[in-house]
Structures are given as C-alpha cells and as structure tokens.
C-alpha cells in the first residue's frame, strides 16, 4: 500500500454563482523514496487537491473521495487534533511564496523552533542545536548568525531554504512542494531543486513536486501525472511521458514548447481551459482537441494503465500491443 493513496477526490467550491468543481475525480498515489510530479496549467486543481489532503481549505469547499489514506490512516474521518499532529510532522508542504507562509513578526530561529517544540517536544537547548543543523542542511551559510534574522531580511532563495528547513524539522515521510521555484530565478531554482532532490534521496521521503514547468518535470520527476481542468488526464513514468504522451492535451502541450519548435510558428492549442459555466458535457478537452470526434462531446473513457490510464477516447502514440478501450457515449 502506498504511503499516500487518494482515489476519486472531488473538491467543489460554493461560489456566488453556484458550485464550482476545482478537482474532479482525481487519483494521487505516492510512495516513500519516489518523486511524483503533478503538472498542469494554472487553475487545473493542483494546489486545491493538496490543500484538501492537508485540511487547509475554507469551509466553502465540499470535499469527497473514495479514499484519502496517508501512512495507513484514513484522513477523511480524522479529527482536527489528530490531523494537527500529522500535518507539519509526517506530511509537510512548501509553497511558491515562502514569504507568505513565514510569519513576518518572528525570527527564523523562533519559527523553526516552534515546529520542533510542537511536534517533537524538544527543550530549548536541543531546539537551538537542531535548528542550526537544519539551516546547515538546507545550505544556509553561517547558520548560527541567521537564527535572529527576520523573514523580510532574506532573499527569495534564502526564504525558500528556510521554508524547507521548517518542513524538514520533524522528519516528514511526505514532502509536498507546490511550485517551490516558480518565483525564483533559474540559477537559484537549480540550487533549490538540487537541494530538494538530494534531501528526498537522503531521507527516503516521498516528494510530490507540483509545477507547470515541463523542463523542471523532465529534470526532477520519476513519475508524472498531468492535470487538466481538475481531472487527471494521464500518468506515466517521466521518460515515457515525454516520448509517448497518450493524451492529446499532453501531446499538444509538449509540442507548444518553444525548445521543441521546428519552425517559427509554434503548434499552439486553440481556445482556453473551460471555466465554471462552459464545462463541456463529455471530455473536458474536446473543444480544443484536434482528435475529437462527436462521441467525445458525450462521454470519455479511462484507458488501461498500459496507456497511462489516460482519460481519452482516442489516445495517441498507441503501439501495436496496446488495446484501446472503445469510446462509449454518455
């Protein structure tokens, strides 16, 4: 059984104009020692699905799932106190904007110390020693002198390192990194990704790396799941995904990369992701898909795992040995 096992997760928000489905029957699985990347354009439900797992969504969210299991525990029925003992300890998360998750009023040393106190009950002297070790581990120079620094005195890269130190404080089994380098320059991004992957290997953690950057996926992930409009449209090992994407969306997305362009004109995907009011009845990608047939406007099938469990009636890059499930209407 996987460390994290989510199946059929759906999250709907109550909005002034009705219900909005941000995550739609999505599965997420990740085990110790592996790096899963969740990739998709903005608004595809990547962050919301993770916040649902951590219990960090507002009351306007309706969450349903067949299964949300972490380390053998059912996270759906867990009470608030028990959840607080897991989140931040066995399961930790870092975000795109480290500044917004650090408290501007307290020093770096104090904030890491608080995590150590709450989750591990360490005494003052041990906390100080452990905090210095953690800062050192995440590559912060002269860690002792950084204990008394406030978040606004740090650069973007340094505050992301502090966030990582805080997330690692209680030795998590699962680390979720939500666009951890999106706000950083590429040379700093390279440093942070190297740090994250190194720590993941050393500690044999499960790492879920959320990103919209195909380059980052290619260079860091082992397994990749692609999200579109709240749905998981396919999942493959990273090498296979880039060689033989099975969903037309993944395939089109990869072709739209400037670095893969053959001519001046980039193959682009027409139109935009559906919103609250124009969610298609069948396959959500159908209005933009160049393979779509009439039947795609009525319903869509999930293919077998051999085809990346792709959610498509007419998957692409299909080999002779693969069996394609026939499309069925509605």
């Amino acid at each position: 059984m996987a460390l994290l096992d989510i199946s059929n997760l759906t999250v709907e928000f109550q909005t002034a104009s009705g219900m909005f489905r941000a995550v739609d029957n999505t599965d997420i699985r990740c085990d110790r020692g592996e790096i899963l990347s969740i990739v998709g354009e903005s608004g595809s439900g990547k962050s919301v699905s993770m916040l649902a797992l951590m219990g960090l969504l507002p009351w306007t969210a309706n969450i349903s799932a067949d299964k949300i299991e972490f380390d053998g525990r059912d996270m759906r029925s867990i009470d608030k106190n028990a959840r607080r003992k897991i989140v931040g300890k066995d399961m930790a998360m870092i975000f795109q904007e480290p500044m917004s998750s650090l408290n501007p009023c307290f020093t770096v040393g104090f904030q890491i110390g608080e995590v150590l106190k709450f989750h591990l009950g360490l005494d003052r002297a041990t906390r100080r020693k452990r905090t210095i070790e953690l800062l050192e581990q995440v590559g912060i120079p002269a860690p002792e002198s950084r204990l008394s620094v406030f978040p606004h005195q740090l650069s973007g890269g340094m505050s992301q390192r502090v966030m990582i130190a805080m997330a690692l404080a209680a030795d998590p089994k699962l680390l979720i990194a939500d666009e951890p380098t999106t706000a950083l320059d590429v040379t700093i991004q390279a440093q942070i990704l190297e740090l994250l992957v190194g720590l993941q290997k050393d500690k044999d953690m499960a790492l879920i790396l959320i990103t919209h950057d195909m380059g980052v996926v290619a260079e860091t992930a082992e397994r990749v799941q692609v999200q579109y409009a709240g749905q998981k449209v396919e999942e493959q090992a990273v090498g296979n995904l880039f060689d033989k994407p099975h969903h037309p969306y993944t395939s089109a997305l990869l072709s739209a990369l400037p670095e893969r362009a053959t001519g001046r004109e980039l193959p682009s995907i027409p139109g935009v992701v559906p919103g609250q009011f124009d969610r298609p009845p069948g396959c959500l990608f159908a209005p933009r898909c160049s393979f779509a047939q009439d039947v795609c406007n009525k319903g869509v099938v999930r293919q077998d795992e051999a085809l990346g469990a792709t959610l498509c009636n007419f998957p692409v890059n299909v080999g002779k040995a693969d069996t394609v499930k026939p499309a069925e209407a509605g």
Binding site: T187, A190, D213, G215, V217, A218, I269
Partner: protein, 319 residues
C-alpha cells in the same frame, strides 16, 4: 551613406539614488550601467538576465517613459525625446502584467482608441475603424469592443495590450516579459501572434525575458545582462551555441530542458545576486564565477569584440 539604425544606444545608463529608510542603506543603484546596442527594422533583440539586472529599466528608457542619466539614445540618428511626437509614436511598450496595465473602468474600445485620440487628429469613425482592424489582427472578436478587461483571460488581455500598442502604427515594440505570466498553451498563441505581426509590419522588437527557451526561439540578437551591465552580446544563435561568458554559461546550464533523457552536467552557481547598492569591486560577477582570477577582483572588464560576439570577461573558457 547608409541609413541610421532605427534605434541606437551608446553607453546608456540610469542611476537611482535611494535614500535609505529605517532598514535600508542609502546610496546609488546603477540600475543600468553603460548599455550599447542597435535595433534594426524587422529584427528582435532579446535582453536576458536575472531579476534586478536592469531589463525593465532599459525598457523604460527605450520607450521614453524615463530619461537616461548617462549615455545617448538615438531614434533614426536623432536624439530621442518624449517631446517629439514622432518619437512617442515610434516606440510602444507591452508589459508582463496585462491586468495592471489596462484601466479596469474602461471598455476595450476606449482603451484601444485612447493612444490615437492623444497622438493623432483622426475622427471618431476613423479611430473605430482602426480599432476594429487591429482587434481582428490579434485575434479578438468584434463584440469584445464593448467589454471590460476583467471579462478576459490572461492571454486575451495580453492580446489587448498588444493591440493597444499597435494602434499608433509604431515601428518598435518593447516587450517586457510579455509571456511570462501566461500558461504554456497560451504563451504559444501569443508568441505566434508576435511573429506574424513582426513579419507583416516589419516591426523591431526589444524582447525582454528571463526564459531562455523563449528567447532562443524568438530572437535574432541577444544581450545578456548582470547587475546593470551587458556581459555578452551577439547573434542569438552564436551566443546560445557557444556561450563564452561564465555567467551566460551558468544561466544556460541552469535552464531546465524538457528532455528527461538528457543527462547534463550542471554548472551550479554559488551564492546569490549581490546587493545592487554595494556591488563587488572589479567584475561584478567575480564572487560567483568559477573562472575568476586575481585581475577580476581588481578591475571591471570592458565589453569588447571577441571574434563574432561582444564579451566582458578577463578569463573566458569554452563550455
């Protein structure tokens, strides 16, 4: 005599004096320090470098939003000035954030026609006709004329910003991170429109971006900047295929490539960008540079021709 280039800059600089607040030291920020380049019709000059290296400052100078504190900027051989109406029309700018640059209270039609009303004596009907033409050209529909910015997606707003820039028939577009906020599929749409427009109107682009894969795709020439200074410049293909400056090399090597089978050795840059208020002596890159020698700590290298490209480095090595 050959015609003067559309835009030429020599030793262009912009310094800001900052009065230190409670926490910040005061001093001078050399946001842009001695940039020289020319921009020709129909060509794209890309400016790359990490945040804070002076890209947007350069963009503001070239689009006459701000005046340089040093150096010279010429439009077709004449000193550029916001007082000259032709100069104001010659260059238009498009920003990264289409949300911030469109007045939320105005309809798209009003937003598009505003530059024409300010800069020409065309009649209402003529303005409207021009707006309709340009809207069609960038892929907006006629009914969009009466809508407000908030009713559009990010990609469409960037189309609106491009359309507005084109209203006065400029010959140069300064594009400051025009696709950085857009999703991949939308980014491709906008890059395609820019390529088509350039072809059709023979536009020159000053294209600013931190995304090297986009720059590789779109540019003819490239200028790499670090802490306000140009460190390497030349034909984009030459610079990207054979980067000589250790910073260009590090930047290229840090850019992730969407190919999981490529096992590449990465030049990992140590440390971070130094404070612009207190830049290192000598070559500003020396504390992070793997090639640094004694001289680099004492003297600042000048940008000089080195075979096909321009380079500011005392100790370049091939990649």
């Amino acid at each position: 005599m050959t015609a003067s280039p559309l835009i030429s800059a020599s030793n262009l600089g912009r310094f800001y004096s900052v009065s230190g607040g409670m926490f910040a030291p005061s001093g001078t920020v050399k946001a842009l320090d001695g940039a020289s380049f020319t921009l020709e019709e129909g060509k794209t000059l890309a400016v790359v470098g990490e945040s804070g290296c002076g890209k947007s400052t350069l963009a503001r100078l070239v689009s006459l939003i701000e005046e340089p504190t040093a150096g010279e900027l010429l439009f077709e051989g004449e000193p550029a000035s916001a007082q000259v109406p032709e100069h104001r029309k010659l260059v238009q700018i498009v920003f990264q954030n289409p949300y911030g640059s469109l007045n939320p209270r105005h309809k798209i039609g009003t937003i598009l026609e505003e530059p024409l009303r300010l800069n020409s004596d065309l009649s209402r009907a003529e303005c409207r006709k021009r707006a309709d033409e340009i809207m069609e050209r960038v892929g907006l529909r006629p009914e969009h004329y009466d809508r407000y910015p908030h009713m559009f997606s990010g990609g469409q707003r960037q189309r609106i910003a491009i359309a507005r820039a084109l209203m006065v028939n400029p010959r140069v577009l300064v594009l400051d991170e025009p696709v950085s906020a857009l999703d991949l599929s939308i980014q491709a749409q906008v890059l395609n429109i820019l390529a088509e427009l350039q072809e059709e109107f023979n536009l020159a682009y000053l294209f600013i971006s931190h995304d090297l894969s986009v720059v590789k795709h779109i540019s003819d020439e490239v200028m790499v900047m670090y802490l306000g200074k140009v460190v390497e410049a030349g034909a984009a293909k030459t610079v990207f295929d054979n980067p000589k400056h250790p910073y260009t090399q590090a930047l290229l090597s840090a850019t992730p490539v969407a190919d999981p089978h490529r096992k590449k050795k990465r030049i990992m840059l140590q440390g971070e960008l130094p404070s612009p208020l207190n830049p290192p002596a000598g070559c500003a890159f020396n504390p992070r540079c793997r090639n640094a020698i004694e001289k680099c700590r004492a003297e600042a290298p000048a940008l000089v021709f080195d075979e096909k490209t321009e380079l500011a480095c005392f100790n370049p090595t091939p990649l």
